[in-house]
């Protein structure tokens, strides 16, 4: 890493650590859920370290407990992860030039928050002139900094939850802390009318469609929010949200 790349990487770490409490809280909640499931200690640790997808992990726990076959749980993982398929379009526009192994690794490590903060800072893909000048891959190092910070904070929360789950009483209602922690991420994003309309739509659809399997309510909420967001968006084309 050159010093410029190192600096971009460190800035990425800092950007993500501003959201540290939210990530720790979600990690903790997920860790506790895994420890209280049918998984053993080491299975829970392995799932935390390798799968690195909180919503998919939580969705898999009741299915594992019910003894469903592996392929059914994997289909569920795919369905629950559909939002990432949409996000990968955004990453593709920025990073299609990288070698294949880097693209897969970069994609795998880009969870919700990394993608969110990345597109907030780089809403449009680089022009061809910018791409020519991009010999230092600073955007990639910035994203990698966020990923490393996100992964580390998530594992600290999650492993703490796995190890101490049985010392934490259910009566604390800690699951709800994860929900509150998301408020601090979402509220600053509601800075324009179109974002507020999109948010209200997403919330309403997510609730109406809550009964659907595979957490398809998330996908429907995204599609509905895109339609309403585009209709209500008055900002000039190409400007960031």
């Amino acid at each position: 890493m050159t010093s410029e790349q190192k600096q971009a990487f460190i800035e990425g770490c800092k950007e993500m650590s501003k959201t540290g409490i939210t990530i720790l809280t979600w990690g903790l909640v997920t860790g506790i859920a895994m420890a209280k499931s049918t998984l053993t200690l080491y299975e829970a640790l392995a799932m935390s370290l390798f799968v690195f997808a909180g919503v998919a992990q939580l969705a898999s726990l009741p299915l594992i407990a019910a003894g469903l076959p592996i392929w059914m749980i994997l289909v569920t993982t795919f369905m629950v992860n559909l939002r990432f398929v949409i996000f990968s379009l955004g990453l593709q526009a920025h990073f299609s030039y990288l070698p294949a192994w880097r693209r897969v690794l970069l994609g795998y490590c880009t969870a919700d928050f990394s993608y969110l903060f990345f597109v907030r800072r780089y809403p449009t893909p680089p022009t061809s002139a910018e791409h020519q000048a991009n010999t230092k891959h600073l955007q990639m190092y910035w994203l990698m900094g966020m990923q490393v910070s996100n992964w580390t904070l998530w594992q600290i929360g999650s492993i703490t939850g796995i190890v101490f789950a049985h010392q934490i009483p259910n009566s604390w209602g800690l699951e709800f802390a994860g929900a509150i922690a998301l408020v601090a991420i979402i509220v600053p994003m509601l800075d324009r009318a179109s974002a507020r309309w999109a948010a209200v739509t997403a919330g309403a659809v997510a609730i109406m469609a809550y009964g659907l399997p595979f957490r398809l309510n998330i996908l429907l909420a995204i599609i509905a929010a895109i339609i309403v967001g585009m209709k209500t968006d008055r900002s000039p084309k190409g400007l960031n949200p």
């Binding site: 998984l39 053993t40 799932m47 559909l82 990432f84 996000f87 979402i186 974002a195 929010a225």
Partner: protein, 114 residues
């Protein structure tokens, strides 16, 4: 839970979930330069991360734990009051920690009072 008893069935599952997650997260990225994402599509998906967060959060607040639909909604749900308190606190303080503390305090109070 203290001995190392890794069930091979579960290990295959964990490996599979890891690969599926890597696959979904790099779904279009894998295609590399063979695909050009049109500008209108990039415009459209700007709203996707916000909507995903909302779709994960809102049911946690408005739907009781274990319920499967909104029909089980009622105002005695402590989540709603905790959620409202958290939004208000964050709006005024812009601080994560105070949002978490006040949100949880109101949530806990509502659980005992309602």
């Amino acid at each position: 839970m203290s001995t190392i008893d890794l069930n091979s069935h579960i290990l295959w599952l964990i490996l599979g979930m890891t690969l599926v997650t890597a696959w979904t997260r790099s779904f279009f990225l894998i295609l590399g330069e063979r695909v050009r994402v049109p500008a209108w599509l990039l415009e459209a998906i700007r709203f996707a991360p916000l909507a995903a967060m909302i779709a994960i959060l809102v049911p946690e607040i408005f739907i009781p734990a274990g319920a499967t639909s909104i029909s089980e909604f009622n105002l005695k749900l402590p989540n709603i009051w905790g959620g409202i308190a958290a939004v208000i606190t964050f709006y005024f303080t812009k601080k994560m920690l105070s949002t978490l503390i006040i949100g949880m305090a109101v949530f806990t109070a509502a659980r005992f009072l309602l």
